[in-house]
């Protein structure tokens, strides 16, 4: 499929070595629009929206930030969240966006201390604003299925 210039520019910024060492696409060679459409369809089939899922992760990041590297309870104690911060920010790879996120890894555990999920503030932004869960094989891709299950666990 033919790519428009804006998509190509965004795709270039998602390649390994542009913004991060590994990039955002993994081994996925589908057009960005196809990646986004497939993942969005999976979310909508579950009766949810990408905005709900992304905003939920952004909220967890905000909760974790209050802890300054400490573990903070969230979702009525069902989970705890902790933010491993490094100084600095990273731009959104979508060239039309202009947003940027702090560099951090948010770790989520259940009440028993089992690891449930890891995500970055940029992951949350990409899902909420662009419906982009990243390409298959990308080290930070959180597939819709996994995220939906996590969301339902926290909200249920």
């Amino acid at each position: 499929m033919k790519k428009n210039p804006a998509e190509q520019q965004s795709r270039d910024r998602m390649e390994p070595g542009a913004l991060t060492i590994e990039g955002f696409l993994g081994t996925d060679d589908r057009p960005l629009a196809d990646i986004i459409a497939a993942d969005t369809a999976e979310v909508e089939a579950a009766g949810l929206t990408i905005e709900e899922l992304g905003a939920f992760l952004e909220g967890l990041h905000k909760t974790a930030d209050a802890g300054w590297e400490g573990r903070v309870p969230a979702c009525n104690g069902k989970i705890t969240v902790r933010s491993d911060e490094t100084l600095g920010q990273i731009s959104c790879p979508f060239t039309s966006c202009g947003d940027h996120c702090h560099k951090a890894v948010i770790g989520v555990k259940d009440a028993a201390g089992n690891d449930l999920l890891e995500f970055t503030p940029l992951d949350a932004h990409l899902i909420r604003k662009h419906g982009f869960f990243q390409g298959k094989g990308s080290p930070y891709r959180i597939g819709p299925k996994k995220l939906i299950a996590f969301y339902r666990f926290c909200k249920g």
């Binding site: 400490g70 573990r71 100084l87």
Partner: protein, 367 residues
């Protein structure tokens, strides 16, 4: 058959000619030649090769503009007034510019390309920022994911810093990264030592610069850096202070405490350092030495998830909670924070909730 071959041949020839014309046109249409940067109403003029970003063009002319993100358009620090020669505000600039700034011709110079002569305003103090090619003197593990990088400046060169400032270092092109990138780090150096720059660097998963530092950097290698930048610094008051930082956020406080020791500043200060477990703590010996040299300084590490074999008998829990226990009344104190905007926001809530005026809270804006 011959007719078909002639037709195909002609088509190929026409396509080839058109492609050649495109290459030639691209070469000449995108050749902006030498452009003039007219700075501060002509008090300084620089001729630069057109086509590059204003940030890089100024760098090549020896004028270094603060930029913590290396020109990605994410930090919003490289603002300058551009009075002529710039296109309308770009979408990548919009999130960083207020309506007042737009009306005053403030622009993000990492996003603007120099295509013609430009008239600019640059604050005079930025002309003092310099670039050095130093040498990696040592690279020391502070814990499992934080290193201290010590850079020796070139023979005969000295750098005066104000504790709290930062520098940018250049990561050369390597592996999949096609061109050099710049990243900003707070200076951890004792300001009396004018011939070295110390940085505290935490490994960022997937980070271009930190991966280079952790996996490819070795003592003896050359390293380019420029600076110093930033206005995060101690005030001249006698107010009691609180420092809050975790991980590599300790860097500016190492420099500030060395400055206090050098100048015999006896202000009362408590440093709350948040970490997960004992393995995440850093610079404990240095903090102990500062406590001995500065009788009014107290270091309070606090662990959120100490391991059973840590045998930890210090403070546990969230930094902000521990801070409240130690300092119930903050109304006449100052706080200095080095962390993400979200962490700083959360601390502002905790600090102001315990009586600290918001104007007494300072944080490192580049982080």
């Amino acid at each position: 058959m011959m007719t078909f071959l002639i037709a195909v041949g002609s088509l190929v020839a026409i396509c080839g000619i058109l492609a050649l014309l495109l290459v030639i046109a691209d070469r000449y249409l995108n050749d902006y030649g030498i452009c003039k940067l007219i700075i501060n109403k002509g008090s300084r003029e620089e001729d630069v090769e057109g086509g590059s970003t204003l940030l890089n063009s100024l760098n090549s002319a020896g004028v270094f503009i603060p930029s913590a993100c290396g020109g990605q358009g994410s930090c919003g620090l490289c603002k300058l007034k551009v009075h002529s020669g710039a296109p309308p505000v770009l979408p990548t600039e919009e999130p960083h510019l207020s309506p007042e700034e737009v009306s005053e011709h403030v622009r993000l110079c990492c996003q603007l390309k120099v295509h013609e002569d430009m008239e600019l305003e640059i604050p005079e103090e930025l002309f003092n920022i310099r670039e050095f090619e130093g040498t990696v003197e040592s690279l020391t593990d502070l814990n499992h994911d934080i290193k201290r990088l010590r850079v020796a400046l070139p023979e005969g060169e000295e750098l005066d810093i104000i504790p709290g400032q930062y520098v940018q270092i250049e990561t050369p092109a390597y592996k999949k990264t096609p061109e050099p990138v710049y990243r900003a780090y707070s200076i951890a150096t004792d300001p009396h030592d004018k011939t070295h720059i110390d940085l505290v660097i935490r490994l960022v998963p997937g980070g271009i610069c930190t991966t280079f530092v952790f996996e490819h950097m070795e003592p003896g290698q050359p390293i380019k850096l420029n600076g110093p930048y930033g206005d995060f610094r101690l005030t001249d008051t006698e107010k009691e202070m609180i420092f809050i930082a975790g991980g590599s956020g300790m860097a500016p406080f190492l420099s500030m405490l060395a400055h206090m020791r050098n100048e015999n500043i006896q202000r009362k200060v408590t440093y709350f350092f948040g970490a997960r477990a004992k393995r995440d703590l850093i610079c404990l010996d240095e903090m102990k030495a500062f406590e001995e040299a500065l009788p009014n300084f107290k270091f309070v590490p606090c662990l959120s998830e100490p391991m059973p074999d840590d045998n930890w008998d210090g403070d546990t829990g969230l930094v902000t909670d521990v801070m409240k226990q130690h300092c119930p009344d903050l109304s006449n104190m100052e706080a200095y924070l080095c962390g993400s905007p979200g962490m700083c926001d959360a601390s502002v809530v905790a600090l102001t909730g315990n009586g600290m005026p918001e104007e007494n809270i300072f944080f490192d804006k580049f982080s």
